[in-house]
Symmetry: C2
């Protein structure tokens, strides 16, 4: 029996984090821990117990997809400013699932081949198969975030994309994929501290890119672009969640909780045998 | 400082497991634990400590590949009879590595499109990128194993494939990929017990396939085909290792050890900064 995802929480985390009518990113405190009133140490314990649940859910999801006519999968879309902790989510939350049941794609600057197609082309190719938890580390939302801030496409093309994204995600959810969209929200000061740490530690230098400082100058424009994304693409079928991420431990249990909730809503079951178990026992015994 | 992979072992595991001149699969006891004289409980502790080492090695490998002109990657090729524990290796050994640093492919029965190409075509497409640990759960060796046993190709085509595999793997290793080839070796009785367990447990029924019993009848032919594979494709640049796997805990630390050894031989280092650290600190401070 799998425990309910909410048991460690003082409130309905998914509801508290969901972007709804009248949402303003500027009102979210990146330091806060909505719905969770326990300590960092307790959060680590809750993360460990949730890890086992997540793993079992995914195995059930996969097992059922092999046998029954189900089409369920989960797609976690992660967006954030640099150093907000996407990699930590993948390592510490998704990493608790059997690696055979996970498909991770880190979307980089589009290749020349990718640019020869619509912006959703490369995304389509990386969708998770049935039974799998897919993770997008960055996604099609880059095309309306950096795309807007850096004016990589004309305004009317950016406008077109919001609608295209909504229709695309509607098709995914209609087809059985639970789309869990998460923006990890850190403060500009927190990013500064994290980049400083990368500069202090030789084993972190490889993660630092001088371009990060240039992007920092555009912080307000990025926040504006995120606000626009939330207004245009937080839909009934695929709502956004803004997760305060200055405290890494909070962001991790919060995203784990969103994944658990998505899997609970699928409620995958071990499939029944498609063969006669007693006949097979006899056949096997005879070998 | 990363500890040496051999410290928990009473002998050189890689050398003990390696298929060399005069090797006979029939002489390997699937119940044995070559080079390891400790208990199952101690093995679990050793596996946990090796997990951290493997994770750090992979992160260094990846970091270095982003910055320096290196081409190193690791490819673990897993072959075995059904239920020998390939999935457990992926989950419990490979699962300790950051999922962003791992690429797993489970090769199934070839698709019609794959059959329109040479047998190495689909394999080529799934090779790990630089800095990544790739895992093949089954591989191009199926084409000379089931391919031979079930006569899916003419004899001279099977013969051609051994040479093609050797040349292919030589190119990979020349290009910087460490190829770690492992056969997990269980006894026929152990397989019977594991299949019986799948039939006993409703949460394991989905893993059982009536065809498994038919394959069991061909056990001696498969052992013959494996022996042939070892004779023809255990090369200097990409040797085979036969890992006794009746004891799952032994198979896991043994494969972990082979991976650690491969990474030690690469000896990846944190790359030096490609920018002026002091200049960047000032630029960042000014934001």
């Amino acid at each position: 029996m799998i425990a309910k995802s909410q048991k460690n929480w003082s409130g309905d985390a998914a509801a508290l984090l969901r972007v709804g009518e009248g949402f303003a990113l500027a009102d979210v405190d990146p330091q806060s821990t909505p719905g969770y009133e326990k300590t960092k140490v307790e959060a680590a314990e809750d993360l460990a117990s949730g890890a086992g649940q997540l793993d079992e859910y995914q195995e059930r999801l996969f097992a059922q997809s092999r046998v029954d006519a189900t089409n369920a999968s989960v797609l976690l879309v992660l967006q954030a400013m640099d150093s907000a902790g996407k990699g930590g989510i993948v390592r510490h939350v998704v990493g608790s699932v059997d690696p055979q049941g996970v498909s991770i794609t880190a979307f980089k600057k589009p290749t020349p081949e990718e640019l020869e197609h619509d912006f959703l082309w490369r995304v389509e190719r990386r969708l998770p198969e049935t039974g799998i938890i897919g993770v997008f580390d960055r996604s099609h939302y880059e095309d309306v975030l950096i795309g807007r801030v850096r004016e990589l496409a004309p305004t009317d093309e950016i406008e077109r994309r919001y609608g295209a994204i909504n229709e695309f995600e509607k098709r995914l959810t209609d087809g059985g994929t639970r789309v869990v969209k998460v923006m990890l929200h850190i403060s500009s000061d927190e990013q500064k501290a994290r980049l400083e740490e990368r500069l202090e530690r030789p084993d972190k230098h490889w993660k630092y890119n001088p371009g990060d400082v240039d992007e920092r100058e555009l912080w307000p424009k990025y926040m504006e672009a995120y606000q626009r994304v939330f207004e245009r693409t937080s839909t009934e079928h695929a709502p956004w969640h803004v997760v305060p991420a200055n405290r890494k431990w909070y962001a991790r249990i919060a995203v784990q909780n969103l994944l658990l909730e998505a899997l609970e809503s699928i409620d995958p079951q071990w499939p029944a045998a498609t063969f006669d178990v007693e006949v097979e026992k006899k056949r096997l015994a005879a070998t």
